[in-house]
């Protein structure tokens, strides 16, 4: 998102090996977020079934930002970064709301059957690492990592 690298006019800032972007906090963008996830997973050599689990985790995480960080405001910004490296896919989702104590971020007990309160559980059971940290905007960054058995890179 930030570009602090020097610019020499010619062939300036070197691109990171990742997709960075910003979308408004409107739930209508969720299919787009999932489409990006599927393609990023394919680039990272992640098999289809795992990619479907990723779609779910990203959807839950993104929805939580809309609901709990932005209280359903539809015009706030959500920054995201997908970074594929051999053996893992890193996804960061960043809000500009307030910092929430991660100990307060938890789903209901699973044996208690009621609507809602499943998202965080689904994120945790799908991803290898889940970390909430305070970001430079005073909001929360959710860092999700999925590790995969390193496969040969089909693109090289």
């Amino acid at each position: 998102m930030t570009d602090t690298t020097g610019r020499q006019g010619d062939h300036a800032a070197c691109a990171p090996d990742r997709l960075e972007g910003t979308l408004p906090s409107h739930p209508k963008y969720l299919p787009l977020v999932r489409a990006i996830t599927v393609e990023a997973a394919e680039l990272a050599g992640i098999e289809t079934e795992t990619a479907r689990h990723l779609m779910l985790a990203i959807t839950e995480a993104w929805s939580n930002v809309i609901r709990h960080a932005y209280h359903n405001a539809e015009d706030q910004r959500i920054d995201f970064r997908f970074e594929a490296s051999p053996g893992e896919l890193l996804i960061e989702i960043e809000d500009h709301a307030t910092w929430v104590d991660p100990s307060r971020i938890a789903s209901r007990p699973l044996d208690q059957i009621r609507p809602g309160g499943l998202g965080v559980h689904l994120i945790q059971s799908t991803m290898d690492d889940v970390a909430y940290t305070r970001n430079e905007h005073g909001g929360t960054t959710l860092r999700l990592v999925k590790r995969v058995a390193p496969a040969e890179d089909p693109t090289s």
């Binding site: 299919p31 079934e49 779910l56 929805s63 499943l118 689904l122 059971s125 799908t126």
Partner: protein, 108 residues
């Protein structure tokens, strides 16, 4: 997401097509509400053409399950693709719902 609605005697059948998430589940909730108000039973939700469902979709189905319970009706889900079925497992919801293979089985 697209929803079509049919009735057969006291039964109501909803066929859901596409992706169910926070953006589309309110529409699903709205469709089901009418059948719940009419105390339809069995209330059949055909998920055969659903390619994705998130926790807001599951929450909507749990609400419907609780609502039919209140008037002594039955909720049946059918046609779940393996991917969608796996999600029910992940949320440990496969046992609380009455999952049927297809519509005919769900109407019996």
């Amino acid at each position: 997401m697209k929803i079509t609605h049919e009735t057969e005697g006291t039964a109501a059948i909803f066929t859901v097509c596409g992706q169910v998430d926070m953006h589309t589940s309110p529409e699903l909730r709205g469709s089901l509400r009418k059948a719940l108000e009419g105390r339809a039973t069995p209330l059949v939700v055909d998920l055969g053409q659903v390619s994705f469902i998130d926790s807001s979709g599951l929450a909507t189905l749990i609400e419907a399950l609780q609502a039919v319970g209140r008037y002594g009706g039955k909720l049946r889900l059918c046609g779940l693709a393996p991917d969608v079925r796996k999600l029910f497992d992940l949320a440990r919801l496969s046992t609380i719902f009455d999952l049927r293979d297809n519509r005919d089985a769900a109407l019996k």
